[in-house]
Symmetry: C2
Subunit: 242 residues, 2 copies
């Protein structure tokens, strides 16, 4: 099976792949702060309720209170956590990468979380999932797991505050520049997002992104073509940020 075919198989069958990857599950557990505090029965219960799941690029993982997946321990890829208005406007709260935990996919069993949140896989991603029902049981019965859940929430609280301060206090050109700069650092000078995707990430509108990119292009900071932005003057970009 070549790479392309393999990828297609995986995206068509998100749940079949690597279903019982015990190694991975164990690895995730043993790197979690609560693991040592559990008795053997509980450890077994955790492992029995975990599975390795793959998601394809663009796949929706969690939608408000419709689904209730559970906690995701992300192994690879990247997830985008966002809120949505009644008329479909999206604002990205934060993104989650390898080694991080997505707690809000279990929001339905987290009593203090009263807002609706959405989670998509931005790229092809793999995660170890502890299902919501089991997680709920564990939270109720074990103080260390309850605390783990609460600590994860608090961590994301800070991420969201960072995002909000950006939206509320920074002008749009600066925010776009910050976005481009972060992408530059992560994946090099070629950025393969559509203007629409960038707008959703920044909580803005597609036209606004297009206009500002055109402006940046006139300034000689970037070169814009279809689904591709090339950063050609890093120095000028950085000037815009500070």
């Amino acid at each position: 099976m070549d790479n392309k075919a393999k990828e297609k198989f995986m995206t068509d069958n998100p749940d079949l792949w690597n279903k019982f990857d015990d190694e991975t599950k164990k690895y995730v557990c043993e790197n979690t702060c609560f693991w040592d505090k559990l008795d053997d029965d509980t450890k077994k219960y955790v492992l029995d309720n975990m599975e390795v799941v793959n998601y394809h690029a663009g796949q929706n993982i969690h939608s408000g209170d419709v689904q209730c997946v559970g906690v995701l321990f992300v192994k690879s890829g990247r997830l985008r956590v966002y809120i949505m208005s009644e008329d479909g406007k999206e604002v990205t709260l934060y993104r989650i990468g390898p080694g991080e935990v997505c707690i809000l996919t279990a929001s339905c069993v987290l009593s203090e979380i009263t807002f609706d949140v959405y989670v998509d896989a931005e790229e092809m991603s793999q995660a170890v999932v502890l299902n919501a029902y089991a997680f709920s049981k564990l939270i109720d019965s074990n103080i260390y797991i309850e605390n783990f859940a609460n600590r994860m929430k608090a961590q994301r609280f800070s991420d969201v505050m960072w995002t909000m301060q950006q939206i509320l206090f920074y002008s749009f050109d600066k925010r776009l520049a910050i976005f481009l700069y972060e992408e530059l650092i992560k994946n090099g000078p070629i950025i393969r997002y559509s203007h629409m995707e960038i707008a959703k990430y920044l909580g803005s509108a597609r036209e606004v992104v297009s206009r500002m990119l055109k402006y940046f292009e006139n300034e000689g900071i970037v070169k814009v073509s279809r689904k591709e932005i090339e950063i050609i003057d890093k120095k000028k970009l950085m000037e815009r940020i500070s």
Copy 2:
């Protein structure tokens, strides 16, 4: 001492009043979810590190990372928790009333909280304060207290998300209407805030509030005078909200 003089004395001496109100401290403790889980030594330690403090209307309690007060168990009055931009623009995150806990006044000892937050007393307020150093010690040594701290953070996370959704997704007239309606429910049809205060609460500008209030007045919803807004048509106000 008549009421006015008494109030003046209290505002001039925020820390002197009711310094060793053991009844209050005990009451607060015994209504806290972690109290039963503590051994006697720890209980004593908690009580020894608490004091009853009064704040006068408008007093700043916590400023970013400058001060580090500790956890506040609010007995009376009202606190306003907000963020501030470099150029002084404020956005209110939420408000705290009697019976509630202000956890972010201890942000300096909360490892997951990485953003700067400000807390003011909106009215003359009284709170039982567990100082930051003791709280930090307690968090490190007792899982129930750590969990209490994390749960409080998570709760406020939801409050902030509610506020953010308002700012990001609702038009200004609707948000102002919601604000007025909430005040109406809490304190009756006369609202004694300046336009500036309302602007800070809504994360907007004073002129914008003035203009919209004038517009509401023309619509016959409110009657505006200096430092006072009277709601004269509750039905019309509610129509604006939905």
